[in-house]
């Protein structure tokens, strides 16, 4: 029987040499005349082990990693096609603790299947949610999503079902489903992993959203920094269309739904939903004032659902297993699972899908294993460039929308960047302002001007120029930006700045400059 070897095609695996490894394995199979084939799967999300090569054996899939091209011949010599022992052997993939302890609902297939094989997709429970949705009334689908407690995974945390209900009830000759795949936050890669590793789940989720709200057209707006995701999604849409999942008759039903892939052009602010809609319409990605809500007047002024990739990709499992199944995971008002992305200076970086409620300390110290550099953890930034810096003193904060808000932070898109003790928090605060200045759309003054003034003020503090006065000024500036900005870019930039200043005051009091000897 043909042996199947899995080598990921995920961009992070490619960045660590997966292409060379796949090539070496293919050559080795040919040279040794073996009966084996290479399947390019998504990533399991354990990036310290990438490229992670797996072999399907009678006992299950056995993992080897991190594999370099030079290791390949040795692996064959060690009989890895039958799970043979080798220094890089990690045993059964599903028994690797980082993976075993997760609750993979949204990411159940990611890293397991060939992302572009519909056969694989169906084999691993794919399309079951859509099949159920087709047999249901629109209001029933919306109620199921509402009852599941699913909230926007892009960062805002707005209940997905309520958004859908507004669009369902809105009148309009044409409604749209827009998938926000402009995943610009540093430390986040969950959207990318889904699009590269299990694109059909996003297509299925969007199609269910279309049926539920009466939208027949969907757009996936993917940032241009993700060429691999754009390529995989484009191919997957084509395959889904050919197979009758998309098109005039979704799976042979009376529903029509089709998807088009669009590429961003390097503007962080286009991750904000109204800015994204303007960009999709071909305008400058300037933020729109709300109301009107995009749900009522969105793309081209028509009723539009704008949802994050993970929100939409979580819908199929909710429809398949039921609202109660999903809702039973989590804590408080944060229901279901969240793919936490552990990144930066961390030993075991990757994607960890789990129910809401783990403490930040458990995530950073136990799951992430502390820093990659081996030095003490100084701060972790949660929620991307607009998220707060948390010191160790706040590591008891549970991973939950409300708990983070109560501590002047946010979980955002659930990315965590770990910094060791060499980090300079004044520098990080300055960067937050600098990033806001680079990416501001320019529509509102607090964001456009405030960010530039913020950089200057941080520089003065660093130079020891009237530090107390300038710290007060920076705090005042943050207050104006927080309450006076139109969107989250200007409104949330104060989170990293203020948290850095409040939790790490020592970094904001640089030693006074030594006077030059006269």
């Amino acid at each position: 029987m043909t042996v199947t070897i899995f080598v990921p095609r995920d961009a992070a695996a490619l960045a660590l040499g997966a292409e060379k490894v796949a090539k070496a394995i293919t050559q080795e199979i040919a040279a040794r005349g073996l009966d084996a084939k290479v399947v390019r799967n998504g990533s399991r999300g354990m990036f310290w082990l990438e490229p992670l090569v797996e072999v399907r054996t009678d006992q299950g899939r056995i993992a080897y990693g991190p594999v370099k091209a030079d290791d390949v011949a040795g692996l064959f010599d060690a009989g890895f096609l039958t799970g043979g022992g080798h220094a890089l052997c990690l045993g059964l993939t599903k028994e690797i603790p980082f993976l075993r302890q997760q609750t993979r609902l949204t990411f159940s297939r990611c890293g397991v299947t060939d992302p572009l094989s519909l056969e694989d997709y169906r084999h691993y429970q794919g399309l079951k949610g859509l099949e159920k949705a087709i047999a249901m009334a629109q209001a029933e689908i919306v109620r199921e999503v509402t009852d599941s407690g699913l909230r926007g995974r892009g960062g805002a945390g707005f209940p997905t079902g309520i958004k859908w209900k507004t669009v369902m009830e809105a009148a309009g000759p044409q409604k749209y489903i827009v998938c926000n795949a402009d995943e610009g936050d540093s430390a986040t890669f969950a959207d990318r992993m889904i699009m590269e590793g299990d694109p059909f789940v996003l297509i299925e989720g969007m199609t269910i959203a279309g049926i539920a709200t009466g939208a027949t057209k969907g757009y996936v707006y993917i940032r241009s920094e993700y060429p691999h995701a754009i390529a995989t999604m484009t191919e997957a849409v084509e395959i889904a269309r050919t197979a009758g999942i998309l098109g005039a008759s979704v799976l042979g039903s009376a529903h029509a739904f089709d998807i088009e892939i669009r590429s961003g052009a390097g503007a962080y602010v286009c991750g904000e939903e109204t800015s994204l809609l303007n960009s999709l319409e071909g305008k400058r990605g300037i933020v729109r004032a709300k109301p009107p809500l995009p749900a009522l007047q969105g793309f081209l002024g028509r009723p539009t659902v704008v949802n994050n990739v993970i929100s939409l990709a979580s819908v199929p499992v909710i429809m398949d297993r039921g609202a109660a199944f999903y809702r039973d995971f989590g804590m408080g008002r944060s229901r279901g699972t969240i793919p936490i992305q552990i990144a930066g200076n961390v030993k075991y970086g990757g994607l960890y899908e789990t129910a809401f409620g783990l403490s930040l300390g458990e995530i950073v110290d136990h799951i992430g294993g502390g820093t990659a550099s081996g030095r003490p953890v100084k701060a972790v930034q949660v929620g991307g460039p607009l998220g707060a810096y948390f010191p160790r003193a706040l590591f008891d904060t549970p991973f939950d929308y409300e708990a983070f808000a109560a501590r002047d932070g946010l979980i955002g898109h659930a990315g965590i960047t770990v910094f060791d003790d060499s980090a300079d928090m004044l520098k990080q605060a300055r960067f937050a302002m600098e990033f806001c200045a680079i990416e501001s759309c320019g529509k509102c003054t607090p964001c456009r001007i405030g960010s530039t003034r913020g950089v200057e003020t941080a520089d003065k503090i660093a130079q020891g120029i009237e530090p107390e006065k300038n710290k007060a000024l920076l705090a005042d500036l943050c207050n104006t930006m927080k309450f006076g900005s139109l969107c989250a870019l200007g409104g949330f930039t104060p989170y990293p700045v203020m948290s850095a200043m409040n939790h790490f005051p020592e970094d904001f009091s640089p030693a006074p400059m030594v006077e030059a000897a006269e």
Partner: protein, 159 residues
């Protein structure tokens, strides 16, 4: 215009691209991406052509082109090296890598080496945050970029 084609041919190719895509809902970004893929940048001369075809003013087209970091108003070098400068990469020493790249190439960000070999760009996140620092060379991605990896990349683009 910095191209080895006649004005007539330029207009014809531009019109072809625009007419292939103008039926889309919100065709502007797809058109600009296609123009940049064709010519390597978005030349000023294309703006009135797009404006005419989409029934917009030249100012509106100019406004869109200049809003997005991705669109260039002049050709890039033969290679484009993008270094991630966002937080996750910072935590793994990307500032050092950036300094080293500037030193090795003798240019700053958004500049092209005199021999036209490479343009250096900053990028804010490539989604490779768990294998930082990250870089992208002409669409190919690199993780855990260290000085050794960087000098290999530089040698490659200089070849």
């Amino acid at each position: 215009m910095n191209m080895r084609i006649s004005a007539g041919e330029f207009t014809e190719r531009s019109l072809q691209i625009i007419r292939d895509l103008k039926h889309l809902e919100g065709p502007m970004l797809p058109i600009l991406h296609a123009i940049q893929a064709e010519f390597g940048y978005v030349p000023d001369e294309v703006k009135p052509i797009i404006a005419g075809e989409l029934n917009l003013s030249r100012a509106e087209v100019h406004g869109v082109v200049t809003f997005y970091h991705e669109f260039r108003d002049h050709p890039a070098g033969r290679h484009v090296l993008k270094l991630c400068r966002a937080e996750a990469c910072q935590s793994m020493g990307s500032d050092r890598i950036a300094d080293r790249a500037r030193q090795l190439l003798g240019i700053d960000f958004h500049q092209t080496t005199l021999d036209g070999a490479v343009t250096l760009e900053a990028v804010y996140c490539l989604g490779l945050c768990a294998c930082a620092p990250a870089a992208m060379l002409d669409g190919e991605v690199y993780g855990r970029v260290d000085e050794h990896c960087l000098s290999e990349i530089v040698a490659e683009v200089r070849r």
